[in-house]
């Protein structure tokens, strides 16, 4: 067995994810932190945490690839790849088949299509607007004065779902106020917000072959996956740690580079 360790660092707009793989491509350590304002330092701390979790505290990694918005700020990475490439790589590692990958991140949504060999054949990112991303849900949680982590349970418990029509995060906020004024429950509004995220994503591209979902929003809101399945009538594949998919993909690139 290859005893070397490989690191992947995904510095996203919201969170920094570090994944440590062993030579058998097993995820043996990871870390998720707020990206903050010092990406380099956050990545350093994430590496320390994830190596500790891997039982390899203080050890050097044989290779590291960084990805995400802060990919150029990682002092210990040898190469950068885009998050599109890393999500495709990571997802194909878990599900080696032709598929459409939906990644809902803090500030970006991506739809990536890979063929049966894992090669990317197409991708689309959301336009400039953050509607339909994690940032949208964060903003709405603030407006509704609820903790972000309670959204999933609230949406799940609601029979009713309000209709939200706007493209724009700010206008959606106004719509939410209107729903509150109409006496709609917070749970019904949150369910409507989840559906709004799904609509924004599904309008980006068609879904072909199998469909997988990744990213922080999916990791923290499993009910959203169920709603996507109901909406699309498709079974959705989800990696064990959906938020780490990009970091895992980056670590796999690091391994390949050796």
């Amino acid at each position: 067995m290859d005893s070397k360790l490989y690191a992947g660092v995904d510095i996203g707009a919201s969170r920094t994810k570090v994944a440590i793989l062993n030579g058998d491509k097993q995820l043996i350590g990871y870390s998720v932190r707020k990206s903050g304002t010092d990406f380099g330092k956050t990545a350093d701390m994430g590496l320390v945490d994830s190596l500790k979790m891997a039982g390899a505290a203080g050890k050097n990694v044989a290779g590291c690839v960084s990805t995400g918005y802060g990919r150029n700020n990682v002092s210990f990475s040898q190469e950068t790849k885009t998050e599109i490439g890393c999500h495709a790589k990571g997802c194909y590692h878990y599900f080696p088949m032709a598929m459409t990958i939906i990644d809902i991140g803090g500030q970006d949504n991506k739809i990536i299509k890979v063929d049966a060999k894992g090669r990317r054949i197409n991708f689309k990112m959301n336009r400039k607007c953050a509607a339909g991303t994690g940032a949208f849900l964060e903003e709405m949680a603030m407006r509704l004065d609820i903790p972000l982590e309670e959204m999933d349970a609230l949406a799940r418990q609601s029979e009713e779902m309000v209709e939200l029509g706007s493209y724009c995060t700010v206008f959606s906020g106004t719509e939410v106020l209107e729903k509150i004024r109409q006496g709609k429950t917070v749970a019904a509004i949150v369910k409507g917000l989840f559906y709004s995220v799904i609509k924004r994503v599904l309008e980006m591209d068609s879904l072909t072959d199998k469909v997988a979902m990744t990213g922080g929003v999916v990791a923290h809101n499993p009910y959203l996956i169920q709603m996507v399945e109901e909406t699309t009538q498709k079974k959705i594949l989800v990696p064990e740690h959906p938020q780490l998919t990009g970091a895992v993909g980056a670590a796999l690139f690091a391994m390949e580079a050796q």
Partner: protein
């Protein structure tokens, strides 16, 4: 830490002559504007410059000024002043930049050429073959400066061009002659008009040859180079100076091909740029593509100043044809055929569509063309959101990631 690759470019020697031609153009206009020595016509970029030269006008192109405002990144600060006059942020940002520039009395001509302001027009001449916005743009100045406004209204979404369109546009050009003569204070000199047409035709032939030199492997120059070197084809169309310039540039490009000189060292990928340039970001985009060993070899945009149907033997009719057959005037099937022909000619691996927020007429991604062309040509496509001048509409980080991911995809 992964380092950003530094990029060096091989200088095109003709650039010096290009800069001189552009400077002379503005100094001549400025002198005429200050002294009244010559009449000045403002003309849309693909308006009837030859006809105006036939009446002795000096010709000034506000779209060129718009591009300069974009390239110098002055636009984003100036656009809001036009917005405040009721001109929406969603309309052409050449228009809003230029009107904002006028209101604020700020022009890149001052910084670059030490010229106080753009030249004062005696007449404003538009052709809506570009879009309707040029008409509204010139109409603003017509009201503001109290100068006559004349124009040609082009047919749109044309498939096969028939005699109906050619005769109509030719007649519209002919009909504007008396009004222009009244402003010029002289009759149309047919010999001078025909001479301007011949120069335009020759300029077009040379410019086409320059652009088509990018079909070579590796390409001797890039789309970003061409956006600069198209200046003479825009502002000096119909003059000997433009012909002289491209007779200088073309051999240099041909020599590069002969010597195997690549504009992008180690060229690995070739891309077609569809849509407007992002004027304020030419350098970072050019650097990024070069660092990815990718040459943007061709574009519809730079090809739009080819008027090789112009014929001095049939002045008005040939103008009717030349100004109607442009890509921007045509229907979707024509546009797809056009890009397919370019695919054969330039051998590119992918197409980048620039969806320019304020330029729907020149954003060809909006009706499913990228998907259709990707399927037809078997190559990937990418759409980036941005704008020609308004950098508020452009997310640089997102565009950079999209481009990088696109090139990664080509390498898989």
């Amino acid at each position: 830490m992964a380092e950003q690759k530094q990029v060096t470019f091989k200088k095109i020697a003709a650039t010096k002559a290009c800069k001189k031609l552009m400077a002379d153009h503005f100094y001549e206009l400025d002198e005429a504007s200050r002294t009244g020595s010559r009449k000045i016509a403002w003309c849309t970029s693909v308006g009837p410059a030859e006809l105006l030269r036939g009446m002795g006008f000096l010709v000034y192109f506000p779209e060129n000024h718009g591009a300069m405002l974009g390239a110098t990144r002055m636009s984003t600060d100036l656009i809001p002043y036009a917005n405040a006059q009721g001109y929406s942020p969603d309309i052409c940002s050449y228009l809003t930049s230029d009107v904002g520039s006028y209101i604020q009395k700020k022009s890149p001509l001052t910084k670059v050429y030490n010229i106080e302001s753009v030249p004062k027009p005696d007449v404003l001449v538009f052709n809506t073959n570009q879009c309707r916005d040029v008409q509204d743009w010139f109409a603003w100045y017509a009201r503001e400066l109290k100068v006559p406004l004349v124009g040609v209204h082009t047919h749109r979404d044309i498939g096969a061009i028939g005699s109906v369109q050619i005769q109509d546009i030719g007649s519209q050009f002919e009909d504007m002659v008396p009004e222009l003569e009244a402003v010029a204070g002289e009759k149309l000199d047919m010999d001078r008009f025909k001479e301007a047409l011949a120069y335009s035709r020759r300029t077009s032939e040379l410019w086409r040859a320059c652009l088509e030199s990018a079909g070579a492997l590796p390409s001797p120059w890039t789309f970003f180079d061409a956006t600069i070197h198209m200046g003479p084809a825009v502002v000096a169309r119909g003059t000997k100076e433009a012909v002289d310039y491209y007779e200088l540039l073309l051999p240099e490009l041909q020599q590069r091909i002969k010597d195997g000189v690549a504009a992008v060292e180690g060229e690995k990928h070739r891309i077609y740029w569809e849509g407007m340039p992002i004027w304020g970001k030419l350098r970072p985009l050019s650097d990024q593509f070069a660092s990815l060993k990718t040459c943007v070899v061709a574009s519809t945009y730079c090809n739009s100043w080819i008027f090789d149907q112009l014929d001095p033997a049939a002045p008005f009719e040939s103008m009717g044809r030349a100004y109607t057959e442009l890509f921007i005037v045509r229907d979707e099937p024509f546009k797809e055929r056009y890009i397919t022909d370019c695919f054969e000619k330039y051998k590119f691996d992918g197409i980048l569509f620039h969806d320019a927020k304020t330029c729907p007429n020149n954003s060809n991604n909006r009706y499913g063309m990228p998907e259709r062309l990707s399927q037809k040509l078997g190559i990937p496509v990418l759409t980036i959101n941005g704008d020609l001048c308004d950098l508020r509409c452009y997310s640089e980080e997102q565009a950079k990631t999209n481009i990088e991911a696109f090139i990664e995809q080509l390498e898989e």
